[in-house]
Symmetry: C2
Subunit: 242 residues, 2 copies
């Protein structure tokens, strides 16, 4: 079973205060980029893998999704999402994406935000999602960028000019990475970009777009702390079609 940090009280207390958890999708600077990658949602059956508090699930319904199934490992998340939903066409379920079984050709759109880097067996999950989509169905997901995750000590350093610099090492050595983030020993699974994309391609997906989130000039004007995200790729956004 996957590590369930979200039901650790310390983690959950800190995590719940993140802008993207308090303000929802508008608190996530990469959301405009994700929106631009999403196909038309109206009329689609959507699955939201790692739905958290359900912000995206509810947004999908507002866009006209005919149904949304939100899955998350965390009871905390699912109970909060369920309490906030009040929509019979959104169903939330506790599920471990490492072992989940999904029905065949039951969805038109699979969406996942910042979840897949917690998954050890990405290949299994991608195959499961592929068969759960109808032909022509799309998968849109974000992960922490492999460059963001790779190093033993992933924190800002300075170069000789004092410029904020992101350290990269162990990039080709895939596998577990432990970090402290609201709790000690949060486990993530590093895979290269190549492995990430080739896993999709070998499962039968066609890659539609690959984006590496960078803040826009307008976003930096509004939130100057975002400027530093021009220095490193922080998130990888991928859309693919079955």
């Amino acid at each position: 079973m996957a590590q369930n940090i979200y039901d650790n009280p310390d983690f959950f207390a800190g995590y719940s205060q993140l802008p993207r958890q308090v303000r929802g999708l508008d608190g996530a600077p990469e959301w405009p980029s994700i929106r631009a990658m999403l196909p038309t949602v109206a009329g689609k059956r959507v699955i939201d893998l790692g739905c958290g508090f359900g912000w995206a699930s509810r947004w999908m319904r507002k866009q006209g999704a005919t149904s949304v199934l939100g899955l998350d490992l965390s009871k905390n998340m699912i109970s909060r999402a369920t309490a906030d939903a009040n929509d019979p066409k959104i169903e939330y379920r506790i599920a471990d994406l490492e072992t989940v079984e999904l029905p065949r050709a039951a969805f038109d759109l699979a969406y996942s935000a910042l979840t897949f880097h917690y998954i050890r067996d990405f290949s299994r999950l991608v195959r499961m999602v592929h068969q759960a989509l109808v032909p022509g169905g799309e998968l849109v997901f974000t992960i922490e960028h492999p460059i963001f995750m790779a190093a033993v000590h992933p924190h800002w350093i300075a170069d000789e000019d004092g410029r904020k610099t992101w350290p990269v090492n162990r990039y080709a050595i895939e596998g577990e990475r432990q970090t402290d983030w609201f709790a000690k020993g949060v486990i993530k699974h590093h895979r290269t970009i190549g492995t990430t994309l080739n896993t999709l391609i070998r499962s039968g997906f066609q890659i539609l777009a690959v984006e590496e989130f960078a803040p826009s000039v307008e976003q930096i004007a509004q939130t100057s702390e975002l400027a530093v995200e021009l220095e490193r790729p922080m998130m990888l956004l991928v859309s693919a079609r079955r």
Copy 2:
């Protein structure tokens, strides 16, 4: 016109001594990975973009390519390639890939090694290559990895444990990068991985595989200096189909 460092005598003298120029393809540690990405070459009309001394062009002919057209900006390169060829089915031409015009549907395979990161207008070149391939034709190319190229000061540093670490900054800021490599002020053009792949996709290519060269256990056993290339992604290898 693109910068022509290869006809700078200092550059050419140093460059000609690189293992991959002296020993050819076997001197390039990424060559086994490239080979694995190449389709069957026999019976194909091949174009080699940035052919250098013609090592790959000659290899393609040995594999049974019906013809090879090798293009390079450098007179030095083309005259050496021509002298080494002795094969009427290999034609070498001096050409600037920034402005080159290629015939329509004239090739089955386009190959390029460590050249495209010197190209300012990648989008134009990709469109030109796309129309020069037959439908179903493939493009296989390598570039310096965007992570390798991005930083203002691209050189090894050490992390707090003394581990070799590669610095990343200015990743999202695309454009010119100047480095000193056998000559002062060698100009390269940094593009993110996202831009690189999306340019291909938007031109009508389907991405077949994305590899980030890392040395194998056997390669490290033979050449221990290669071990450091596990720390950072040094080259990006892409195959795509028209």
